[in-house]
Subunit: 97 residues, 2 copies
């Protein structure tokens, strides 16, 4: 986790978005503070309930709700969701040689 914790129990979050090009950079910069960028249009990671509420409020400020779309999937624990990657696995940290 990159951001400090506040507010409630931790949840596992997947965020998938379809956002106009003029707003996408701001949304990504914002989400990168809290979650891992796992694919071009997807972030995932763990957030507290308080963080998630704050993030949803701020995302609504960064998008145009009539034009953009963000899906927020949440599980109460990471153990309920398995993940498999077909093809390229994006990594922010390592460089694929």
């Amino acid at each position: 986790m990159k951001a400090s914790r506040h507010g409630g129990k931790t949840m596992y979050i997947i965020i998938v978005y379809d956002i106009a090009v003029e707003r996408i950079d701001n949304v990504r910069k914002y989400l990168k503070q809290y979650l891992n960028w796992v694919q071009n249009s997807a972030f995932e990671g763990e957030l507290t309930e308080g963080e998630l509420e704050k993030i949803k409020i701020n995302l609504k400020k960064l998008i145009k709700e009539a034009e953009d779309s963000i899906l927020v999937y949440a599980a109460s624990d990471k153990k309920w969701v398995t993940k498999e990657v077909l093809g390229i696995e994006k990594s922010e940290v390592t460089t694929i040689i």
Copy 2:
């Protein structure tokens, strides 16, 4: 569910992809047979274990694994995952007036 069931218990599936434009239509056409297209780069729905295994095998045939990326998230039951939409909610079936 659009496709016939075979093979094992039902799971809740979210598929998120980042695929080259020349292959995207084939991937979407294929996934539409089994899942709901919920956002430009995302499908979700329920599949049996057998269907999911078949779909993963066929997706690998439709993509270039060195260039494309597909994330497959699975929960053993839909009840473990909540979904919230910020902005536009895509719908294949209904027309928003």
